[in-house]
Amino acid sequence: MTPARAPGARVAALLAVRARRERLAMRVAVAAAVVGTLSAVGLAGLSGWFLAGAGLAAAAGAALLFNYLLPSALIRQAAIFRTGARYVERLLAHRAALLALAGLRADLFRALAERPPPEALRLSGGEAASRLVEDVDALENLLVRRPAGPAAVAGGAVAVALAGLAAPLAGLGVAALLLGLVPAAQAMRARLLDPAAAEAQAALAALKAAVVGAVEAAAEIRLMGLEARTADALATEAAALDAARLRFVRAEAAIAALVTLGAALAAALVLALAPGADVALAAGAALAAHAAIEAQAGLVRAATERARVTAGLARLDGLVEAGTPEAPAQQEAPPAAPLVFRRRGREVRLEAGGRLLLDGPSGAGKTRLLHALAGLAEPDVAASGIAISLGGVPLAALPPRLLARAFALAPQAPTLIAGSIADNLALARPGLAEAEMWQALHVAGLDAVVRARAEGLAALLGDGGRGLSGGEAKRLALARALLAGRPWLLLDEPTEGLDPATEALVVDRLDRWLEETGTGLVLVSHRRPPRVLARGTVLRLSDVPDASARRGSVLPA
């Protein structure tokens, strides 16, 4: 890829493709916005022209000669047009934006999934994911506001023309005001709004961190009598946030006030330069200029949001960046056996269907080892002191996607998705039949729970699998791993949170399932009952590795 690209160009290109599919809606929205703004400017101009004309005619005693029908009809038309056009604009601009962004979200997800896994996983974590959502929302706003630009230009052009007709100098003056408005707003944005926005964002993050920290240390605060000091400390953080918000809102209000100022100045300018001009025209032009500048408000707002969008695009570009494309995951079958662990001369060799318990104290890196097997973490021989090979190939030499075909992981944190129970199970493998799903749920001891729900497999779960208890979520993740049909099963504390009876049931069924399917097992568990699944083959990770080995775990442990 060529490095000399504007930041954000790749995402902008993706967005352009998606937006092009909705271009009809967007074009109509732009046309409607232009009609709406012209109606607003026209309504103001016509009313002024009509009134002044009527006044002139009455003063000249020629009231009956004044053509009042056409202008008064036009005025009424403009009122109706303004309403209708505005409605159409809003609806269609939202249509184009929502649909284009629905597509873009899928594009971004694909791009994210194509990054080398460790990077993709870093980008999918908590804060990064929220950031992603904010950035995408900012793009949506950008599209919704797109019609404001052409509409403001059209309205401005008409106002300039009218003022120019009344007095050429007035036309120039209104044009200068219009042209100066957006750069002035942008300058104020850069000087006032952006710094305040950054400050407010940082202050909010600091306050959140402070409150979360205090909640975590709540026992100490209560027992050691630190309540008052903590309240003071939090109040200080909150005050900093409020001060930043005040600066931000003031900057925003100052930019909006710019439009108010400009509108009055434009009307005054036309009037002051009008002597000698047609009175009706001058009156109409003054009101039209006023309305035209007020119509710039949308454009000014879009201009002030531009910075946010630009920064967002640049961040999103980081996701889409081609990077080093992973070696294409060919149809090549992964090596399946033997799975060999070597540690300080000791070797544990598992043939197909073999079983192993990884043991050791907390923090010894057991979970991380499972994640390395699953292709979710870099295998780190230096930290764990364990060299692993699969089918004679060192783990590090196997691309993560190939590893994923050899191992199915039921992680410690279940990591479910919002959707139905079937959606969650279907992640495991395409083309799963319902009977297979029930079978897997049975082994995981969850079939009765699912059957008890009226919707069965179609029962909906919330974000991250909300709606299931901790133990149920774990068993669903277990069933999902069983369905993947991989030669090796990786289980991380599979029965944590289960009552003893259920635990015994699950262990028993798992044992039979492993036997029948000839699937191998690598198990991590502190609890006694599941440990029998390993049939006595144990690899002990006794030493706590240095801190670096604990970094980069991608699932919450």
């Binding site: 929502l98 999918s124 309540e227 909150a238």
Partner: protein
Amino acid sequence: MTATTTLPWKPPRSLRQRMDVATLLFLGDSLAGVPFALGLAMAVHFLLQREWVGVLAGAVLVAVSGPLRAVLQWAAATAGVRAAAAAKAEARARLYPRLLATGWTAGRLAGEEAATAVADVEMLEGLAARYRPLRTAAVIAPLIVAAAVALASPVSALILLATLLPFGLGMALAGTAARAAAERQLAGAALLTGLFVDRVRALPMILHFDAAERVARQLESSTRTLAERTLATLRIAFVSGGVIEFFAALSVAMVAVYCGFQLLGILPFRVPEQLSLAEAFFALALAGEFYLPIRRLAAAYHDRQLGEAAEAAIAARLEAPALASPPPAPPGPFPGLLADGLEVEPAPGRRIGPVSLRVPAAGLVALTGPTGSGKSSLLLALAGLLPPAAGRLALGEAPWPEGGLLGRAAWAGQAVQLFPGTLLENIAAARPDASPAEVRAAAAAAGLGPLLAARGESLAIDARGSGLSGGERRRIGLARALLADRPILLLDEPTADLDPEAAAAVIARLKAEAGRRAVVVATHDPALVAVADAEVQLP
């Protein structure tokens, strides 16, 4: 603690006054439309008379109205945010103590919950700064504008007021449906982003199962469906905006046509007024102001939705039953404690125990067991922060006091609350009346001597403890517990994050402390368990 049924902030008097300032400034902005209209009318009048000085004077008046309104609008926004800051401060003052009270039970969830609560408080800003002042202004300002119009043309004022009737009807018809639709839209938008972020968060497992392409396709089709559904609700939601827009335009058009016909003398009916061109212009220029406050209010609708949702969420948090948190008992002696069949329930459905144990007035007791076996929860129960779910606790010969060991026990846990200030000040927070020498001694006893020697006694730390290792934070907590000089120490993993030498020093210190007071530790550390006088193993 009594459950409170009031909303988080029914504005107290001082707050209402601040919000009133914003309202008044918004009203002032509407009133500042008068010089604009007056200037315009003057200029047009004198244009007709060809009196250029008068035209210029009118133009100047029009120009001056610009900065006047700009300043008023800016001041209104400022006053609004100031009122909002007061509202937020008040909500925080009531919310944060409640959040802290959940801290020792809900664990990691409590942290996420707290972050959400902080964000919710911020959502009150739009409500207090914009929506509420604008709501009052939207009721009063049109009347002020109509009164000003009436000075020039009472009939025009009547026309404006008359449009309010069909407008109100239209809003009643469209508004209710639109409001419901707008709420559905907000929910739909949340679903849209929620689905995306949910899949992004599940990416590790999606990659693991090689399901990225399938999920992407499903994501696209379901976000499209959601978008279509959102659009259907927008069709209704935008109607109320359309109604406002329509009457805003219509009122201007009607005043324009009426005034024009009036000037021409061709009205098909008699009216009790005769307008001059200046009066007509004055009325026309102000007609546009009539619906402006209502349009501004409509623009703040989103603020209202978010703000009221946040208000409800905050109220729900305040109403949720809080753990009983009695005032600390007067610091008293610790005659030893006895727990018999003690069970605790740190979270619904998670039971720990039964455990029976005895802690003598002096000695080292170690609670051991695998991760998740409930050592920390048991420690919290002994401290009095978790009520026993079953079993019996006794303090020496006496029944267990309501506040447990509050006031008697010093605590050092996994998380340490740090304050901006020096390291020694942080330690002294546990006992503000301690002498500097005592504070230094506690720091040294907790193993902070080398750090102080290396970086100086004035070593400043910030609220996040930047630059401190996990072990150093723990030592600060331990130093506090030692300094507090209470008869029992409750310590959660006191040697975690420490290297073996440092851990050995801490263990020696704890063993020494156990000679003169009770020390209860929850630990995995075999070296610490080895020196304990008693070990209580949790399954």
